[in-house]
Amino acid sequence: MQITEYNAQTDEQLMKLYQSGVEPAFIELYGRHSSKIYGFIQKRIHNKEKVADIYQEVFIKIHKSKSLYNSSFPLLPWIFTVTKSVLIDELRKDKKIIQVDPEILNNRSGSDESVSPDLEIESMISQLPNIQKQAIELKYVNEKTFEQISEILNIKPSNARQIISRGLRRLREIASEGDKNDSK
């Protein structure tokens, strides 16, 4: 099959060819969708090196899990899901160095000293609703301003402030609930 003939194929047909190891099918898919993946990551992460790492990781994950794709479903949502999952995994890795409001840590005064505060915070953050989780990660992991967070999450700056404030409040609640459970 000539390279030009791949232009006429649908994403799903190309993916099927890629699944059976046809390289030009990958190149065609790459040409069609790489900028979406890059742009999406860039909107969420502003560190260029990190963007490059995540971008490469997305394609490696697409390659390794291509056999899991079912060609009877549209390809783009699948690529998007892979992209998002790699992005979230990377943010989770970074979460270990997050430093949230010291008040939250102080509220955990009765907690087990042997447990790392970072890990405690990580598990508490995982209990937040998605939007609060993302906003807090952007604020404290990526050190974004409220303006930038609002752009990334497609919300108003005042909303971004409110979501983070609610998230922090919820974290305090989770922390004090944990304390009550510890003292029982």
Binding site: S35, F40, K43, P129
Partner: protein
């Protein structure tokens, strides 16, 4: 629609509209180098993987089929005796070669990626020949007495076994 569904949909819309950003050329190049290795793995790397697997499976297979009299597990029964009874010495050499290489290639197929199996298929003659010659070298090193005629028959068996095992592995991987 739940809040999570809405979030997913909003993110997806952002994803679809993110195609104005151009990927930097150096990043494209870096990624293509990595992907090239994954999509077209070098044949010698594939061979090294097969060889490593062959060292284990080949050694283990000596427990069911003694090659050139080598019997490290001291087992009483051997498929080579059966080959010998059925078709004589020549058939035994051919059968042992087929079995020895085919088992290893088939086992390797379980561990290799689809692209690596494809690379094996592309270079199957060379890969199977090298595997056969290295095996004969090992047999000689461990004291087997190899005659040119019987050794060649064994090698031919190895090539036949390798060819069928590669084709079968490729078909299984492609349709699964």
């Amino acid at each position: 629609m739940t809040q999570n569904d809405n979030e997913w949909l909003n993110d997806y819309k952002t994803f679809l509209s993110s195609n104005q950003d151009h990927v930097p050329i150096d990043l494209n190049t870096k990624l293509f180098v990595k992907m090239e290795k994954l999509i077209n793995p070098p044949a010698w790397i594939v061979f090294l993987k097969i060889l490593a697997i062959h060292l284990v499976t080949g050694f283990l297979s000596l427990s069911v089929c003694h090659q050139f009299g080598l019997n490290p597990f001291n087992t009483e029964k051997s498929l080579s005796d059966w080959f010998m009874n059925v078709g004589g010495h020549h058939f035994c050499m051919l059968g042992c070669g087929i079995l020895f290489v085919a088992v290893s290639i088939f086992s390797a197929g379980l561990f290799l990626t689809l692209e690596e199996v494809k690379s094996l298929k592309r270079t199957e003659f060379l890969q199977n020949l090298a595997l056969g010659l290295i095996s004969l070298g090992f047999f000689a090193a461990f004291g087997a007495e190899l005659a040119l005629g019987f050794g060649s028959l064994w090698l031919l068996g190895g090539l036949i076994g390798g060819f069928f095992a590669t084709s079968l592995t490729w078909k299984i991987r492609l349709y699964n």
